[in-house]
């Protein structure tokens, strides 16, 4: 068994003011895998990603373990962190318009950390940059190196951002909502690019998005977060076709169907709690249609599913009730049938 490129254990993040935003998250990304971290805004998924880089907002604290390539980044000093960032682990952000520096050329942004981390010479760095831009399918890479972000279209910008992230050949790419700001047609292109990088380059990716459709298309495994905790995790296909946590199911139900059948959307009642008012017990219980009395007091742990069914292998669930254990299938004429 190879070392996972990323492994977090009981990762816990407190914000200034003492609020706990991420509470005991365990994640594993194996080499060449794309692992998804899903959840609504405020669920703590982006903070989880930032903690891997030591880039939490000022005054926040991360506890537990977060190993990247076998080293616990939470214990690294600033200097070691900087040496690791961009080199071993790289990040792609949501909005390429804002995440690229508006006043520096693409070429410079692709090469500056390469030159810093690897001491690559100017011309070698430039050659590598052309190679990278070609790899992410940016037409006319030579010219693009001299361009500024605002001269590129949204899709091209995100491709450039990915090229920047890949410059030092990181073992892990963290992509935080990489397609949310893009149009669907452009999004499709980026998804294909990421998929190709995984297949051809063996890139490991931690993909963070609220869009379960994107998850479905790209990820091998999926973890769903709610209010700072992982509520359900497992192989993507199994998880999406037979969700076990009421929240996961609620999310899926609130999505429009893609099979062309018109049906009303089913929303989860209520809204996600603010950090200041996370309910005791299972954080989801006030919105849960299956909640029973203990849900409001006992906090469910994330435990392996004991169904024994082969497709439930590797799945874990944090629910006291597990209302769909028997049903198995996604009810309500679910969108998808298992392959």
């Amino acid at each position: 068994m190879t070392t996972p490129v990323l492994r977090t254990e009981q990762l816990r993040i407190t914000l200034p003011g003492g609020l706990t935003a991420v509470d005991g998250v365990d994640l594993v990304v194996e080499p060449g895998q794309i692992v998804g971290l899903a959840g609504e805004s405020g669920s703590g998924k982006s903070l989880t990603a930032l903690s891997l880089f030591g880039l939490l907002p000022h005054g926040s604290r991360a506890q537990g373990r977060a190993e990247v390539g076998g080293r616990d980044v939470l214990t690294l000093r600033e200097k070691q962190l900087r040496a690791m960032r961009g080199d071993e682990v790289a990040m792609v952000f949501q909005d390429p318009m804002t995440s690229l520096h508006p006043m520096l050329t693409i070429g410079r942004q692709v090469t500056e950390h390469l030159r810093h981390h690897h001491g690559t010479g100017r011309s070698a760095a430039r050659a590598r940059a052309v190679e990278l831009l070609t790899q992410v399918r940016i037409p006319d890479p030579e010219r693009t190196l001299g361009a500024y972000p605002h001269q590129l279209s949204g899709g091209m910008r995100q491709r450039a951002a990915i090229a920047i992230a890949l410059a030092c050949s990181p073992s892990l790419l963290v992509a935080d909502e990489p397609t949310t700001a893009l149009d669907v047609t452009v999004q499709a292109g980026i998804l294909r690019l990421l998929d190709r990088l995984r297949r051809e380059e063996g890139l490991s990716i931690l993909l963070i998005t609220h869009d379960l459709g994107v998850m479905g298309a790209l990820t091998d495994r999926l973890a769903v977060m709610y209010a700072g905790r992982i509520v359900e995790t497992g192989p993507t296909q199994a998880l999406l076709t037979a969700p076990r946590h009421p929240y996961t199911r609620g999310l899926l139900d609130s999505l429009p169907r893609t099979d062309g059948v018109a049906a009303p959307l089913r929303a989860i009642p209520g809204s996600a709690p603010r950090l200041t008012t996370i309910p005791p017990g299972c954080a989801f219980h006030p919105r849960c249609g299956h909640a029973v009395a203990p849900c409001s007091t006992d906090r469910p742990s994330l435990l392996p599913l004991a169904s024994g069914a082969p497709r439930d292998e590797g799945r874990m669930l944090a629910c006291l009730v597990d209302p769909y254990a028997a049903a198995g299938e996604r009810p309500g004429g679910g969108a998808v049938s298992p392959t």
């Binding site: 880089f53 880039l55 000022h58 962190l81 900087r82 040496a83 690791m84 960032r85 961009g86 080199d87 790289a90 990040m91 952000f93 949501q94 909005d95 804002t98 995440s99 690229l100 520096h101 508006p102 006043m103 520096l104 050329t105 500056e112 950390h113 810093h116 981390h117 500024y148 605002h150 001269q151 951002a161 920047i164």
Partner: protein, 353 residues
């Protein structure tokens, strides 16, 4: 002052930098004409007769002398004609004759402007260096003690009355401690370097005369520091706000996520975009420095435009006051042009659109 964003927008609307600058220059010319009109009206509603101000107690009683004076300065023409005569002269670089110095106002301006510009330039350089450094530190240490300390320092800077600071600084550093000379640009009787730019420090360097340069620096330092107190505070506060704003941007997080050294991130990624508003405020600060010279030049016996402006306006020396107003307006217009050009240098989004 406009928010930089507005200005950037207005730059963007231009079709090419040349065209844009051309239009700005034309607008500037209109502005200068407007200034002459306002200055003209203002100086002419002031009660008091320039002849009475300029002539001696005996001379004023001699009608021939008074008539000669009035004729010489065109004071017997109707107002509108005086104004157009003035404007017409201005077009030919003729600012009229100062009644106080009896020299062409242009000659006076050529003499008095450079020392003031030099003083203001030294002060703005000090302000920028100190202000940007302090402001950046404050932003990076937001809400921690260095920030609080810098905030107190910068607020004190903008709160201290310049004229009082000039007095107090002169009292302490020149009179009591004797560290600085507080009189003039150079030691008395010391020859000025050959005039090239009119800026003494620059000229002495051009003349390859480090000794004079050092002496000039010694003389300019105290008044420049006094003048800079306000602008250091101003620029510090702006820099802090501007850097904070940049720090909040995703691209800075990207830079950190790329593992670049902190120094590189700050110098290359943060300061450059942060400079846009700082440049704007520096232009503004330069203007306030020019105004400030009115208050400090006399205390430091600095032979500049501030003293000239003050004396001329007290003496109702209309051509001189007009000349000063016009030159300051021209400086304002030029500064704004320079700022616009600098925007383009800093921000490719402006340059390339």
């Amino acid at each position: 002052m406009q928010a930089p964003a507005n200005r950037r927008e207005s730059v963007r609307r231009g079709s090419g930098l040349g065209g844009f600058l051309g239009r700005r220059a034309i607008a500037g010319a209109f502005l200068v004409v407007g200034i002459t009109l306002v200055a003209f009206v203002l100086t002419h509603v002031v009660p008091g007769d320039p002849a009475a101000a300029a002539l001696g107690q005996r001379a004023i009683e001699d009608p021939a002398t008074v008539a000669a004076f009035r004729a010489r300065y065109g004071l017997d023409d109707p107002l509108w004609k005086q104004y157009f005569t003035y404007l017409f002269g201005l077009l030919h670089g003729d600012f009229g004759i100062s009644q106080q110095t009896r020299r062409p106002v242009l000659t006076d301006l050529v003499e008095y402007l450079p020392p003031t510009i030099e003083l203001a330039l030294v002060a703005i350089v000090i302000s920028l260096v100190v202000g940007v450094a302090l402001g950046t530190v404050a932003a990076l240490k937001r809400d921690r003690w260095p920030d609080q300390l810098i905030r107190v320092v910068s607020l004190t800077g903008v709160s201290v009355p310049t004229f009082w600071l000039a007095l107090t600084a002169s009292l302490i550093f020149s009179v009591k401690l004797g560290w600085f000379s507080s009189t003039g640009q150079l030691d008395p009787g010391y020859p000025k370097p050959p005039t090239v730019t009119g800026l003494l420090l620059v000229d002495s360097l051009l003349d390859n005369d480090p000794f004079t340069f050092q002496m000039g620096l010694h003389h300019i330092l105290l008044p420049a520091l006094v003048l800079a107190a306000y602008t250091v505070g101003l620029i510090t506060r702006f820099t802090r706000a501007s850097v904070l704003e940049v720090l909040g941007n995703d691209y800075i997080r990207s830079a950190h996520a790329k593992g670049l050294p902190r120094r590189t991130v700050i110098l290359r990624h943060v300061l450059r975009p942060a400079m846009v508003p700082i440049i704007t405020v520096s232009g503004l600060a330069f203007g306030s420095l020019l105004s400030g010279t009115v208050l400090v030049e006399s205390i430091f016996s600095w032979p500049g435009l501030g003293q000239y402006a003050y004396k001329s306006s007290l003496a109702l020396d209309l051509p001189a006051v007009m000349g000063v107003s016009v030159i300051v307006a021209v400086i304002y217009v030029v500064i704004n042009l320079v700022i616009d050009v600098l925007y383009g240098v800093i921000d490719p989004r402006i340059r390339l659109s």
